[in-house]
Symmetry: C2
Subunit: 110 residues, 2 copies
DNA sequence: TGCGGCACTGACAAAGTTGTCAGTGCCCTG
DNA sequence: CAGGGCACTGACAACTTTGTCAGTGCCGCA
């Protein structure tokens, strides 16, 4: 059921990457690090993503403890995703990754 | 020809991950961060890897400027890979990733 | 002469990941 | 009442990444 292949590795690098791995997970976390969002809202903010992949990724991130899913009403459903306290420990890591990535892009294009 | 799909993204996170992405790249960098190695030596140190994937990954890492390939003699070929100065800037990032990954593994199994 | 090692390549098949599309039950708007 | 949105699911196809296997030219060992 996992989207990422590295799920069961004992290597800490792979363990971390398995949480991030998935075509859209980086983008999703980036969006949610600004503020909590509803499913459809998030989908519209990432134009190329498909609903199916968005939901798969969201559920995996919830399963990994990175996101929290909160359902406020029952009908019509209103689901809101936010970064969990545990997920917040990931944000600085993402920032380090992002910092290096920025320099790497500069190196390639300039 | 790229192993990773995220090659052409403008997102810095994806740009960084595209360098790391590939079933064995983390392990390869881990080995080479200790010391330079020859192709066959590296292959034997990662038992499950296939020769083809090892070489594909190595060549991509060279292409991305992370590794340096040095060919000392001509016949029989003796090729040695080492982390480039640019690649060294990646090592602290890997350490941050590894640190979080270690905690994540503990959380899952303890 | 036969065998294995060296670093590497190509054709092809098997996995794995993502996308497409139809459908769920309920509500609200026109 | 038709049509759309809500969050989500399942079957299936398309695409991407890995693995399998055979083969390259040269050397050294027996």
């Amino acid at each position: 059921m996992p989207v990422s292949k590295k799920e069961s590795s004992a290597c800490p690098i792979d363990a971390m990457l398995s949480v991030i791995d998935g075509r859209w997970k980086g983008t999703i976390l980036w969006r949610l690090s600004e503020r909590p969002m509803r499913t459809g809202e998030l989908r519209r903010s990432i134009p190329e993503i498909t609903e199916r992949m968005l939901i798969r990724h969201l559920h995996e991130l919830v399963h990994d403890g990175i996101l929290v899913r909160r359902q406020t009403r029952t009908m019509p459903p209103c689901v809101r995703y936010s970064i969990s306290p545990y997920g917040l420990t990931l944000v600085p890591v993402l920032e380090v990754i992002c910092g290096w990535g920025r320099k790497h892009l500069q190196k390639k294009h300039g």
